[in-house]
Structures are given as structure tokens and as C-alpha cells.
Symmetry: C2
Subunit: 217 residues, 2 copies
Amino acid sequence: MNTSLAITNRSLHDQVVSRVRDLIIEGILEPGSRIDEASLIDELGVSRTPFREALRTLAAEGLVIVRPSKGSVVRKLTPEDVFAMLEVLGHLEQLAGELACQRASDQEIQALVDLHNRMLVHYRARDRMPYYKLNQEFHSRLTELSKNDTLQEMQRNLQARLKRIRYIGNQRPDSWAGAVEDHEAMVAALKARDGKRLGQAMARHIANTWDRVKDSI
Amino acid sequence: MNTSLAITNRSLHDQVVSRVRDLIIEGILEPGSRIDEASLIDELGVSRTPFREALRTLAAEGLVIVRPSKGSVVRKLTPEDVFAMLEVLGHLEQLAGELACQRASDQEIQALVDLHNRMLVHYRARDRMPYYKLNQEFHSRLTELSKNDTLQEMQRNLQARLKRIRYIGNQRPDSWAGAVEDHEAMVAALKARDGKRLGQAMARHIANTWDRVKDSI
DNA sequence: TTTTTTATTCTTGTATACAAAATACACAAC
DNA sequence: GTTGTGTATTTTGTATACAAGAATAAAAAA
């Protein structure tokens, strides 16, 4: 059995989508810049057909804008866009929190508490990158505990759109402590299976995110 | 000036997307059935390239499933899918209602009240189809009043995914009155700009939708 | 008869060629 | 120097050809 099966098994379409998505999130393709088909298909080693299909997928995801006959550009988020997305994401994660308290098993909750503890280790060591990665996972995993596929899908989508912004916002040192406090409150509420309290904590956490990132857009 | 400018101006891609979307919503392409590229491109009079790009858009919207090397199928919603979508939609419209109370102008609210009154006329006449259309519009317009583009986008997406189901659910006569009562409550709360109450009314209305449609999935 | 294998046909995936549109450029007129 | 116009170049959009894979049918073996 081939160990790289999971990768080779993915369709070319999915591979192109996620590679271009990464280029956008990492900022290699800058927000607002035109997407040059010729150079990118050259870089990726695929032909235009699958590449353009991938662009359609990314456009539907909201990462790319296709301007008919004028080429595609990396979507550039205005502060209003980001505020709107956080407003929705906050509400979705609030729902996720409430549902998680009803539907998650003790094991699942414990796994998330463990994840939180690992985050604390990175926080104390001021290891920003691993903390950031675990943070993304924390929110995804908590949303999974809602057992609502649609909710997961929408949360994933918004998280992807905001990933770039969040990463930039995380550069500022002073805000980190506040985020960790928020997480503490969330974990406590989850342990107590207090859905309302967890929901509110999550909504507040996302609202605080706005304060953390708003000046870096 | 050409009056059909708005239509001819749309890209072929958008046209194909919305035509196939309509075929799905109207049930001409049945849930679960394979999408035969050959016959559809023949019907639509386009070649495979733009058609397949349209499929990628529809897949990202959640109306179509692309199975690599095995063709695409119209997504068939399980009862669990529908429940999950309504759970999210209910929460999103709750947020929309709250924001509308804060952000909508008196004019905008009045326009929605007028729309509601037109719905009542159709209800009294038992004109199901025009009522149904205005009902879609009512929810869309109310969401617009939230002034949150992301919220509108997600609401639109969920509404499109559920359109088929809702239409079927609306066939049952007894549930109609309940839906109208819900709308009465929503309009009253909106007039009073009571965000919490409107939000709750909207969430309850969507929850009731589940009861209305659950036996027809 | 049932199962397995192999050949054929049909469908999907990708590359490429051509058409159409937009952009860039050069040059002229003002 | 600016504006306008026509041409060349580049880029995008669509059709089609070919390759690769899956489904089907036919033939051979159990």
C-alpha cells in the first residue's frame, strides 16, 4: 500500500484548489492582485481547463473574484467585509457552542480540553505559530462537536476567508493574552456543559477578534 | 438603450449556472440522479468547458456533488441535512432580524410591511404560488435589512439549497395558517424595532418550517 | 447457472487550438 | 502635452480532440 495514497487519491481539481487557496492565504498571491493564468498553470504544471475550474470553486468560496473577460483577482477584504464576516462567524460559533454542550460526548470534550492545554504551553513559551495553528483547530473541532454539517461547512468557509487577516492581526503582542482568557472561559463553560454561557463566550471571543484585527486591514 | 441589457450582459457562466440551478430547484433534474453532460450541453447549447465550470460553481454552492471520474449527481438531501440547514438558517435569520431592527430605515421597514400585506391577500385567496414567491422575497428582503453582505450570501445559499424541499412542504394545506401567524408576529416586532423579539420570532418560524417539511423528505 | 475474465463502448478528465475580447502601444491630430 | 484612433499584442473564453478511466456487455471458465 502506498503511503501517499491520501494525496494521490485526491482529484487534480481538489489539489489545484487547495494549492491556490494556500497561495492566497499565505499572501503569496496578494489581495487585489490579478491572477495570471499563464504563470500559475506553469507553476502548478496543469493546463488551463482544470485551473479555471479551480478558480470557479475558489470564486464560490469567496476567495477570488472572476471579472468576465477581465481576468480573476484575489479578493481584497474591506474592513466592512471583515466586520460582516466576524458578525456572522460569531453568531455561528455561538450556535456551535450551544449545540456542542448538548451533543458532544465526555471524551470529545476532554479531547478539546487537552488541545486547549497544549495551546497554553505554546502561549507560555510565546510560540506564536504553533499556537495559531492549534487555535484554528480548536475552533474547527469545537464546531465539529455541534454535529451539524452545514454549520461546519459555513464555519470552515468563513475561517478560510479570514485566515489571512487573522494571521496578520495575531502579530500584535498585546492582544494575545485577551484571546487566551477568552479560551479559558470557553473551556470552563464547555466542561460545565453550560451552552448559553459557552455560546456567549464564543460570540464575545469573535467580537474581540474584531478589535484585534481591525487596525491591520 | 437595450432593455435586455441586464440579461445579455451576464456572462455565459452565470447563465449556465442559473439555468441548471433552476432545473434542480424545479425538480426536472431529480435529487440523486446523475447529471448527463452530453444531453444537458445539447439542451443548453453550450460546450463542455463552460458547462463543467458551472458544475464546479454549483458544487461549491452545495447543489451538486462531483464524484471524481464518476460524474456529477444532483445532491439529495437527507432529513438530517435538512434539519442541519434549518438549524443554521434559523440562527442566521435570527441575527438578521436583530440587525434589521438596528439598521433598517423606516422606509425599508414600511416596504416590508407592504410586502407582508400583499402576502396576506394571496393567503386569503389561497393563491399558493404567488404567496410562495413573495415569501421567499420576504425572507431575502428582511435579511438585506441587516446590511450584512455575508449574512445575505449565506442566507441566499441556504435558501437555494432548501427551495425544493420547502416547495414540497408547502403543498400541505394545514400548515399554512401557522406560517402566516409567524409572519404576523415578525412584522409586529419589526414595526416596534424590537430586535430580540423579532429574532426569536424568526428563529421560531424556521423551527416551525421543520415541522412543516419533515414528512415530505 | 453462476462467476470470472476480457473486449467494447461510453463517460469523464485534460490539453490544446481557435475565436473573441481587452489591453497596450504607436502615431497622428489638436 | 493631451486626446484620439487604429493596429499589434496579450489575455480570456469556448470548442474540440485526444487520453484515461469506468461501466457494460460478451465470452470463457467454473
